[in-house]
């Protein structure tokens, strides 16, 4: 950009007279079209083009990856974190922790000298301490907590891991020591604390809002300890954060961080190419080659803990019959799906756990594609002439399934070969999930992206009886045998033992086939080549603390 010097002098010259010469300037702009020299605050800002608006500014209340990417790592800290390189639990706001011998009491020593955000609506008078931890976690479990019902009393992630029945008490021993007492040992407890959902809120801010009688603000005007502090949110337009200058980890690069909300895929790409965005989440897999050709944009790729699957409503005939489920699994041609839907950018799934997990069962057989065998199985089950069924295809694009409708169409053709007539059904996303929760479907194409590295995160929220009761078990499947296996795996802290149990669980799922796992997809993000210091975290939301603009 040798032009930039020439331009900047011009800009200054022009802008001194802007009030009088706007029309002239327009004409001049057409001719030159220079990038203006940005001022200090604007130049050091970073723009992330997001695919949707945040639902809330409190991670406890949400599950959507879009919201988590925007709020979680930027505004908040957790007691413990996950090391993105190896999935280990590392210190966060807690410097160290101790687990009692029976595994039911966790004691955390907290970091001192951690300050909360000072914003135009809140100025903290004290540093972070044990009260904040107590305040944060009691909000989820304690029905008498002043904020428990503030957002409807629903904490989706914590409900999916049965948090309220697990944690008996959170107690502040002194300012920098806090203990969690559990009802039973749970080896996934630390992993759950490390998820993006377990963000630490400020108790003092809570008190202030109660005194001001505006408790609803706690989820709209956030206060955390993270690297950025909240500035403004214009619905469906942008979210603006400023740097938190007293961040305890220090070293936050962008002075300003803006999430530009651009739901349209093509428009997001256009903004990346015109440098209106620095980072674009979830570029379409079909467009990756086009993006990779450009020199000013880099595509980052990372393995991601997710699985796309086809779940059967196992309570509805004929899907209550094992042979039928097995026949359906054999009838679909995965090779075609991998090519047409994932463009080869995914690993075929043998089971629901991705190969990167430490509990992955490498002994599972590769899925078979055999319409003839499938027909034989159907005949055995009493459906020699096939039947009619529905395939529900989710209406949105997700990492684990970039195009469910296309996948459903491919399956429709495959199923027709074994005499099954499949109808494809789709609703608007919110009604879709609601109807799924009521188990109105025959079968559904959907998936799961992990919130933490613990294998339990793939079993309990997806296929346990508790998940069925809460409506998130897409297979409507409740098997005491299976629940027993994954329950035992939680009770022991010994990793070898846990691994053996999870291997059994995967084997059991393979036999029972309540769902057909299809693929584990890679996660992509496109980033301007002039930005460094951003990488994809396979275990959760993106962190933009170290994003730095370097000269191209």
């Amino acid at each position: 950009m040798n032009l930039s010097n020439y331009c900047s002098t011009h800009t200054i010259y022009c802008c001194a007279y802007t009030k009088y010469a706007a029309a002239l300037l327009v004409a001049w702009l057409m001719l030159s079209g220079c990038q203006p020299q940005m001022p200090q605050t604007a130049r050091s800002g970073l723009v992330y083009c997001s695919e949707g608006s945040p639902e809330s500014f409190n991670p406890q209340l949400v599950t959507s990856g879009t919201t988590i990417d925007i709020i979680s790592q930027q505004l908040y800290d957790r007691l413990v974190d996950i090391d993105p390189d190896n999935g280990d639990i590392v210190a966060g706001l807690a410097t160290s922790w101790h687990v009692s011998a029976d595994g039911t009491r966790y004691q955390f020593n907290l970091r001192d000298n951690v300050s909360f955000h000072s914003t135009r609506y809140f100025s903290p008078s004290r540093k972070f301490n044990a009260n904040d931890v107590q305040f944060t976690f009691n909000r989820i479990t304690d029905l008498n907590h002043p904020f428990h019902f503030e957002a409807g009393g629903i904490y989706p992630y914590f409900q999916s891991v049965d948090w309220a029945n697990l944690v008996k008490k959170v107690e502040a021993i002194d300012d920098y020591t806090v203990t969690f007492e559990l009802q039973r040992p749970d080896s996934s407890f630390l992993s759950n604390l490390a998820t993006d959902f377990a963000a630490i809120l400020s108790a003092e801010y809570g008190q202030q809002l109660l005194a001001a009688k505006q408790p609803g603000q706690i989820d709209r005007l956030p206060v955390g300890t993270g690297p950025f502090r909240f500035r403004e949110y214009q619905k469906d337009i942008l979210v603006r954060f400023y740097r938190h200058n007293d961040y305890w980890r220090g070293n936050t690069q962008p002075e300003q961080l803006v999430f530009d909300i651009v739901p349209n895929n093509a428009r997001r790409m256009a903004k990346l190419f015109t440098h209106e965005c620095d980072i674009v989440a979830y570029p379409r897999v079909a467009e990756l080659e086009l993006i990779a050709k450009r020199e000013d944009v880099t595509v980052q790729e990372s393995t991601s803990m997710n699985v796309g699957f086809w779940a059967f409503n196992t309570q509805k005939p004929p899907f209550d019959q094992l042979e039928v489920r097995q026949a359906l699994g054999m009838a679909i041609n995965r090779a075609a799906i991998m090519q047409a839907v994932y463009y080869g950018k995914a690993t075929p799934a043998y089971g629901i756990l991705p190969p990167t997990s430490w509990a992955y069962n490498a002994g599972l057989p590769a899925p078979m594609y055999s319409p003839a065998k499938a027909r034989a199985l159907l005949t055995k089950a009493g459906y020699p002439n096939g039947f009619t069924m529905n395939i529900w295809a989710m209406p949105v694009q997700r990492l684990y399934n970039p195009n469910a409708l296309k996948m459903a169409e491919l399956m429709q053709a495959d199923l027709a070969q074994i005499g099954i007539k499949a109808n494809i059904i789709s609703y608007e996303w919110n009604s879709f999930r609601q109807k799924l929760g009521n188990y109105e479907h025959d079968s559904v194409l959907i998936g799961w992206a992990a919130d933490n590295a613990d294998p339990d995160n793939f079993f309990r929220p997806l296929l346990s009886c508790a998940a069925r009761d809460s409506g998130s078990n897409r297979a409507n499947w409740c098997d005491p045998m299976f629940d027993d296996i994954i329950g035992q795996a939680l009770l022991t802290a010994d990793q070898q033992q846990r691994r053996a149990l999870y291997l059994t669980a995967q084997q059991y799922l393979h036999q029972q086939q309540p769902l057909v796992a299809i693929a584990h997809s890679q996660r992509f993000q496109a980033i301007s080549s002039s930005v460094s210091g951003v990488s994809i975290n396979p275990y959760g939301g993106i962190s933009l603390q170290h994003a730095k603009r370097v000269s191209p």
């Binding site: 706007a22 428009r267 256009a270 903004k271 015109t274 209106e276």
Partner: protein
């Protein structure tokens, strides 16, 4: 003149009456629950429902309900948006200036370009310049605005990288909201990067303004040209020429004044088309104005928003139409008789 004014205002009152009746009946004609459509509330419990029935006077006859509707509109109580659960009037207040700003600049551009070009084309109708201006006007007139906008984005934003493709201002510039007119707000803002932000806002304005101005400019060229040619045939021009005035003097003193009179009226007539085109332009350039908002509302079946948006836009179009008619009559005594 005052009789003419009275007659116009009388007519306007009737148009507004018809418009308000239509907007009022929409609340009942939309599918779904009337109370939800009127209030914009998504969840209504029994107690609240009773309160709302009283508030909207739904237990009274339609005349009462209509009067209640009028007083609500007058008080600025327009209900909530289904999508955001925010008061509609407040949302519209934030969005309308963006649309007005864009429309005003486009209209201004169409005058600045259209009138001189029209005069030139009329001055030498058979020369190369005159013919090419007419040809350009025809081409611009028949250009689908959606395609034209995308074409400009592809060229200037994607291929050349000169201009931004969407929005009103680079998101990194933080300008406090006061009037809602971006350029005014920037000039009033007390920030260090004011001139850069102004420059940036102009760059964002450029493509949408050109796209939106294309249609009115071509209309203006054709209109001015035809009016000029028409006036040129008149006897008083011949008289003036016979008196020995130069061509320029005749053009300026006798031609232009008479030819430009109908142009004032033309503004009013073009305004409704301009608003429609502004909606499209806003969609193409993600311009956060009322047109894009209204189109989104239609997609989301946001009935209260559709009703309010319709009311605002129609009122605006009718008012401007009337104003230009009156202005026209003010300058042209002949029009007052009509």
């Amino acid at each position: 003149m005052s009789r003419y004014l009275l007659r116009r205002l009388y007519l306007m009152a009737f148009v507004f009456l018809a418009l308000s009746l239509f907007a009022f009946s929409l609340g009942y004609l939309f599918p779904g629950d009337v109370i939800q459509n009127l209030s914009g509330l998504r969840q209504i419990d029994d107690e609240q429902r009773q309160q709302l029935i009283n508030y909207y006077q739904l237990d009274q006859n339609y005349l009462q309900q209509y009067l209640a509707f009028l007083s609500r509109i007058a008080q600025g109580n327009w209900g909530l948006s289904f999508a955001s659960q925010q008061p509609l009037l407040q949302e519209i207040k934030l969005l309308l200036p963006a649309t007005l700003e864009l429309t005003a600049y486009a209209l201004l551009l169409s005058f600045i370009l259209g009138i001189p070009l029209g005069i030139v084309a009329a001055f030498k109708p058979h020369s190369l310049i005159g013919k090419s201006i007419s040809a350009l006007a025809i081409a611009g007139y028949s250009l689908p605005i959606f395609w034209w906008g995308l074409l400009l984005i592809m060229l200037f934003s994607l291929a050349l990288g000169w201009l931004p493709s969407a929005g009103r201002l680079g998101v990194l510039y933080e300008i406090p909201h006061s009037s809602g007119f971006m350029l005014v707000d920037i000039l009033q803002a007390d920030v260090k990067y004011r001139s850069e932000a102004f420059h940036n806002a102009l760059r964002h304005l450029l493509l949408p303004t050109i796209v939106l101005a294309t249609f009115p400019t071509t209309v203006m060229i054709r209109f001015v040209r035809d009016a000029m040619l028409n006036v040129w045939e008149q006897n008083y021009i011949k008289t003036a020429q016979a008196k020995g005035l130069s061509r320029g003097q005749v053009l300026y003193r006798h031609g232009l004044r008479n030819a430009l009179l109908p142009v004032i009226r033309q503004i009013g007539l073009q305004f409704s088309t301009l608003i429609t085109l502004a909606m499209l332009t806003e969609v193409i350039f993600s311009w956060p104005g009322i047109g894009r908002w209204l189109i989104d509302s239609i997609y989301q079946r946001n009935y209260p928003a559709i009703q309010a948006g319709l009311l605002v836009i129609s009122t605006m179009v009718i008012t401007i139409n009337m104003l230009t008619e009156i202005l026209h009559a003010l300058f042209n005594p002949l029009a007052r008789r009509g």
